[in-house]
Amino acid sequence: MHRTKLFDHVILMMGVFFMVGPLLVALMTSSHEAADIHRNGLQILPGGHFIDTYTTVLTREGGFTGKITGLRMMMNSLILGIGFAAGKIILSMLAAYALVYFRFRFATITFWMIFTTLLLPLEVRILPSYEVMNTLKLTNTYTGLIVPLLASATGTFYFRQFFKSIPDELLEAARIDGAGPFKFFIDVIVPLSKTMIAAIFIIMFVYGWNQYLWPTLMTTDESFFTLVRGIKQILLVWVGSNIPDYNEAFALAILAMVPPVMIVMIFQRWFIKGLTESDK
């Protein structure tokens, strides 16, 4: 053990360097002025314009219409991320509950059909989905942004496997205790799935937060733009003789990372707690 101790630390430090290094560079660069960055490239030392850059990014009304602010975009991203994660969890839990606890015809086939859609990425069905949403006049709405992405084979699959690991005796005990299907779901299944819900919430929130293609297609109204889109927008808007606002783009990127990091940190605690004391 002693012999390898130093080496272990070297590996860890290298990990930290490669993982955190770019973030640090982004953070530091965002505190310089755009012209400065244009001249000198990326920065690793603080530049003294930290507060004004971030204030500008969050509050300045920009875009083509001149109405969209960073805060607004952040809120849109949050609505998308949370709506997406919560919707997916509710939907896939109910689907898995039906698949595991109710005997209906073609249940296995249904499951495998859902499962095979795992193999199809969103991009495969993006045009038909867009067409449906367009016909329903749901473009430029939160509903249109969130609902088409809700069906989740991954979530259904995870919850199904989890429900299958819950002993049948619990269901039987609950039946004798007079709990119907709905009560059993709410009183037993949901509390037992807490850690599972936390894990899937993390995954799905980050996935929803990082969505780029679908929001780009669905929203033309700038008030529905998300942060991830906004970053791109900043770099595109100032073409011509202007220097792109590198600092603002970096600031926005840093801001875009904060909520997912926070979500991971908050839910991870539950997640690990659940892993260590899990008994069914």
Binding site: A173, D177, D187, V188
Partner: protein
């Protein structure tokens, strides 16, 4: 509290497998019935049909005067204790006990009173705020029993509740279950594969084999007058010795060895003879005897199990530890202590000797009467 009448109940699974074959048991109010048998004999299936967790394929189950074939488990007025406790892991002990009552809309004050009463009875009061994972196996089993008690059901159903406990705890919990059941007077149906548990707990035993009832009777009746070779070998430890023999006149021949019954018994020539290990004793001079070749000895402290063969057939005798063991031993048995079974069907022949054991005989329903065999 209620009587349970199980009438011609069968369980036929898809594919035609018959797990339970036309079983009838009448359980009196307050009686403790133990279903015992090897794994796969259908005892759990039968219990689960009474509980409503399995559909009844044929026949009827009545609790009280109500046929409950199509009644939901919750409406059957029963409570069940599971082998793996099946406590709700995320609820405190209190909530585990109270859950069934809450679902029935019992007033809060009454729930409190009933949970407190059950907790006192089971001595789990100090654990009420804990979660099941913070309890030991024995404590969890008490909570599971508490969950049954608070409901004040017409019947308790136990599905091998002690199998997950260690041997010592099992013995003490066994005593507690027995006392509790006596105190509450609730009709109970208890499933186990452990014949010792069955013997000690039951008012009446139901021995099941291959989905059919082999014998119903009080534990000692079943022990002393097993209805078949199956029951004889299943109930009692060590298992009853079963030897193939031939009757010639008044004599029983086991290969080259012979016992004289002194009276002409009323069964055919080929016979299976049963001998309890503890009924065998060392022959005194002048006694007729069987010579056993000793193979190995198990020391149990209080007695000693001597395993050997008589004319190549296995035999176990339970002897006092102070008896000296030789390479061969001359053993004898009182003819009244012999059990006789049909060599083909394994069914018991009623004692062919007058007087002995006839009072026991009358209580045992499934024993084939001598007359029938003739």
């Amino acid at each position: 509290m209620a009587a349970i009448n199980i009438t011609n109940v069968s369980k036929i699974y898809a594919g035609g497998v018959e797990a339970v074959k036309s079983v009838s048991i009448d359980i009196a109010d307050g009686e403790f019935i133990v279903l015992v048998g090897p794994s796969g004999c259908g005892k759990s299936t039968l219990l689960r049909m009474v509980a409503g967790l399995e559909a009844i394929s044929k026949g009827t189950v009545e609790i009280g005067d109500r046929v409950i074939n199509d009644v939901e488990p919750a409406e059957r007025d029963i409570a069940m204790v599971f082998q793996n406790y099946a406590l709700y892991p995320h609820m405190t002990v209190y909530n585990n006990l109270a859950y069934g009552l809450k679902n029935r809309g019992t007033p809060k004050a009454e729930i409190d009173a009933r949970v407190a009463e059950a907790a006192r009875m089971l001595e789990i009061e100090q654990y009420l705020t804990r979660k099941p994972r913070a309890l030991s196996g024995g404590q969890r089993q008490r909570v599971a029993m508490g969950r049954a008690i608070v409901r004040k059901p017409a019947a308790f159903l136990f599905d091998e509740p002690l199998s997950n406990l260690d041997a010592k705890l099992r013995v003490s919990m066994r005593g507690e279950i027995k006392q509790l059941q006596k105190r509450l007077g609730t009709t109970s149906l208890y499933v186990t594969h452990d014949q010792l548990e069955a013997m000690t707990l039951a008012d009446r035993l139901v021995v099941l084999n291959g989905g059919q009832i082999e014998q119903i009777g009080r534990p000692l009746d079943v022990y002393h007058t097993p209805a078949s070779t199956f029951v004889a070998s299943f109930i009692g430890s060590p298992a009853m010795n079963l030897l193939r023999g031939t009757r010639e006149g008044t004599q029983l021949h086991f290969g080259s060895q012979m016992l004289d019954l002194n009276r002409a018994p009323a069964f055919p020539g080929q016979i299976t003879v049963g001998m309890r290990a503890e009924d065998l004793r060392v022959a005194a001079a002048g006694d007729q005897s069987l010579t056993m070749k000793v193979e190995y000895i198990e020391e149990l402290g209080a007695q000693r199990l001597v395993h050997g063969t008589i004319d190549g057939k296995k035999l176990t005798a339970s002897l006092s530890p102070d008896i000296e063991i030789g390479e061969t031993m001359a053993l004898t048995i009182t003819p009244e202590r012999l059990h006789f079974f049909d060599a083909d069907t394994g069914k018991r022949f009623d004692q062919p000797f007058a007087n002995a054991g006839s009072d026991r005989m009358s209580t045992s329903a499934n024993v084939i009467k001598l007359e029938n065999a003739l």
